[in-house]
Amino acid sequence: MYEHQRALLSGNEAFARGAIEAGIGVCTSYPGTPSTEIAETLSRLSTETGMYVEWSANEKVALEVAAGASWMGVPAMCSMKSLGLNVASDFLLNLNLSGTGPGGLVIVVCDDPRGHSSSNEQDSRFYARAAQIPLLEPSTCQQAKDIVTYGLDLSREFEIPVMIRSTTRLSHSRGVVELGDASSCSPVPSDVLPSRLYNIPDPHLRHRDLLRKMDKVAARFDYSPFNLVPSSATEGDSAIIVSSGVSRLYAEEAIGIVGDRSLSLLGLVTIYPLPKTTIQSLLRNHSTILFVEEVDAFLEDGVRGLASILGMQARMFGKRTGTVPAWGEMNTEIVLQAIRDLIHIDVAPRDDDYEEERSAAEKLLIPRPLTFCPGCTHRNVYWALRKVKRRLGGALIVAGDIGCYSLGVFYDHAMDTMQSMGSGIGVAGGLGVLTRLGLSTNVVAVAGDSTFFHACIPGLINARHNNANLTFIILDNQTTAMTGFQPHPGTHTEDDGLAQVSIEEVVRSIGVDRLARVDGTDIPTLIDTFHNVVTTDGFKVVIVDSICQLRERRIAGAADETQPVIVRPDLCKGDSCRICVSQYSCTALSWDRERSKAFVLQDQCVGCGSCIDVCPHDAIQRRLTD
């Protein structure tokens, strides 16, 4: 597995290694950045470890599958991104009362402050408070590994789910981790289901029991080896930074840079329920407290609340006082600025000359926007939709969804809306029923294949049932491309243990008025089909057989039998046209400024030939064999 006893692991790999050391028998997940590599790593090692690793259809199902394992005595882990917990929360806020089983269950949730790879910014920790379950927030890769065993033990003892929260900078950062031994026990499911796995008729009494458990957990947390407590009790007028998660590392660095010996640090890992005695001595020993955490004032509110209950006082600063921003990622500069504001430490003099040079250089920089990969069929779909929209005089709304095709918002604003998984077809259903109130604009929803299975089916059924007037375009490239090609129920599989579910059959069984299937590389047919289908009234679905060129290349390697695509300079109309580079904009098409002609970057081109039909002058062609 790992040759050395020390390894350079990402936070996510460390969570995975922790699962192996803890003896997790079942791991379930739905891919989502920045959480994907946890289950991905375990999936890769599953033959070796014997662990059952499942890419579930969505996070709620994933959590349900994991709960089943836990009930039957198999240690279970469920990993997901922030938004995934929104989906799973309905089940979570029942499971907390029903309880997990003898196997134990840890939920690893990876938040994405700043929304690097997310449609929103959210702090998922409030779910731990909503569900009244223990919450652990490791600060280093080492803790990420070790916390899994700790969390699982806690879950087994109290029979409640335990939540571990990570953020992008922990999940995606590497650090040195001392490895322990892989668990030697191979979990065998029990034959007996725990009794009373439901909350009725007295859910309020279950709630009462849960709160009693949480009191015991809080007392336990006072002895947690994970919390970094200041080594010596200092006098009552000193300042301290209280942090959790990866923010502890920023706080440590800021304190190091400032170099003030009176400033100490409390790094909490057990952040819900708060360890009461620890917080009591914090409040007793420090008159000034600065909270450093990502993203909301979760820890801060907890300590402020506890201080009020205990009748203790301190000058507390954080997101509530505007001392640090309550949005975006944490970093060392933010902590430094807060320290300077609070304790008026001498700031290193500003190097004005350097700052001037810096701003001058900054002016030279141009952005590097994201775009579709060369040959991506999603570009063709939006190109076609744009053509159709123009033909309809702009009377076309495109409700979008979550996946690589979300980049449609940057592609000439070809996608008009984008919220949660499956919400494209949901809101399109809402727009589609407005026809009866006189809406004349054509409505289209777009979703990918993995998203279809994840959350589109109820929206689709709702739209069917209510006879929404819309066209649902499903971009089926057979994989969860955005997160690195995880399989989903529609993926073709050679694995005997898995069955393939056909999107087309699901759609047909719901009963569409019209169903079309198109090749995503064939632009003229895409345009014609979209135009015909969109302008017909009814509830319609178009399945686009799409190709993820990254995945194709991975499968096929570099070998390509097709004739290379070229631009013939004698036919290219030059600056008066530029449709291929300025409008279609495949990144394998470039512009020769000296000759004012388009040309193909052969090292980028995948040879799909989609652009051939984009050129109105037939200048893009396949090179004939000599």
Partner: protein, 221 residues
């Protein structure tokens, strides 16, 4: 074997707080350039050299042509995954625009920059919406922001493949001896990331030998 590791001690040494200022490297480039592999090799070599690396990766955009920035921090323990502004020791720019972008954000008068002179278009420069900045001006600006700037023209025709550019840059790092990492350890790490064709090791060796003739740009060159 390195010249510029500056183990400035922070005043505070108690409570397990950071004792030695980390040596900070950024690998800046564009998706698809092997940025993450490059930083991983640096990290593993640092481990072999007795240091504890922390690697902060930003790869949300790595597959879709966006900027990719990796922070490699060499210290005695895991430290914050992001380098504070103005604390960059060594910049490895796999692409000049992205190199300068990182210098503007993190650079200081102590930064040593190694920048590959091979611009990669953005979507906007391809479509003609924007002009790619003047390449000489990019380097002039880098020189003014850094202690030393090496302008590296990669021998693209001689490299085993474009994809081995990252290994070539690591060779330059080893040859110039500008990081607190043992050259043999870096070579080992590069050989471990090799595809089996020996491309990376060959590119690494080329980098090492080309580094011998390299001189940093002067303010007026």
């Amino acid at each position: 074997m390195y010249r510029r590791m500056s183990p400035r001690r922070h005043p505070k040494e108690a409570d397990g707080l950071s004792q030695v200022a980390p040596f900070n490297i950024i690998v800046a480039g564009v998706g698809g350039q092997g940025n993450l592999v490059c930083s991983r090799a640096l990290g593993e070599a640092a481990m072999e050299s007795g240091l504890s690396p922390t690697i902060g990766q930003t790869f949300g955009a790595s597959r879709r042509g966006g900027s990719v920035l990796t922070h490699v921090r060499l210290a005695d323990r895991m430290v914050a995954p992001l380098i504070p502004r103005g604390h960059l020791n060594l910049l490895l720019g796999l692409e000049p625009l992205e190199g300068l972008r990182a210098v503007v954000q993190f650079g200081s008068r102590e930064t040593v920059a190694v920048m590959i002179d091979r611009p990669i278009d953005t979507v906007d420069t391809l479509t003609g919406e924007r002009e790619y900045p003047d390449i000489d001006e990019l380097f002039r600006r880098t020189v003014r922001l850094c202690h030393q700037t090496y302008r590296v023209e990669p021998p693209l025709e001689k490299l085993p493949s474009v994809r081995s550019l990252n290994a070539y840059v690591l060779g330059i790092v080893a040859g110039l001896e500008i990081a607190p990492i043992k050259m043999e350890a870096l070579e080992d790490a590069v050989s471990r990331i090799d595809s089996g064709l020996g491309h990376n090791i060959k590119a690494f060796d080329m980098g090492v030998s080309h580094a011998r003739g390299l001189q940093p740009l002067g303010l007026f060159s």
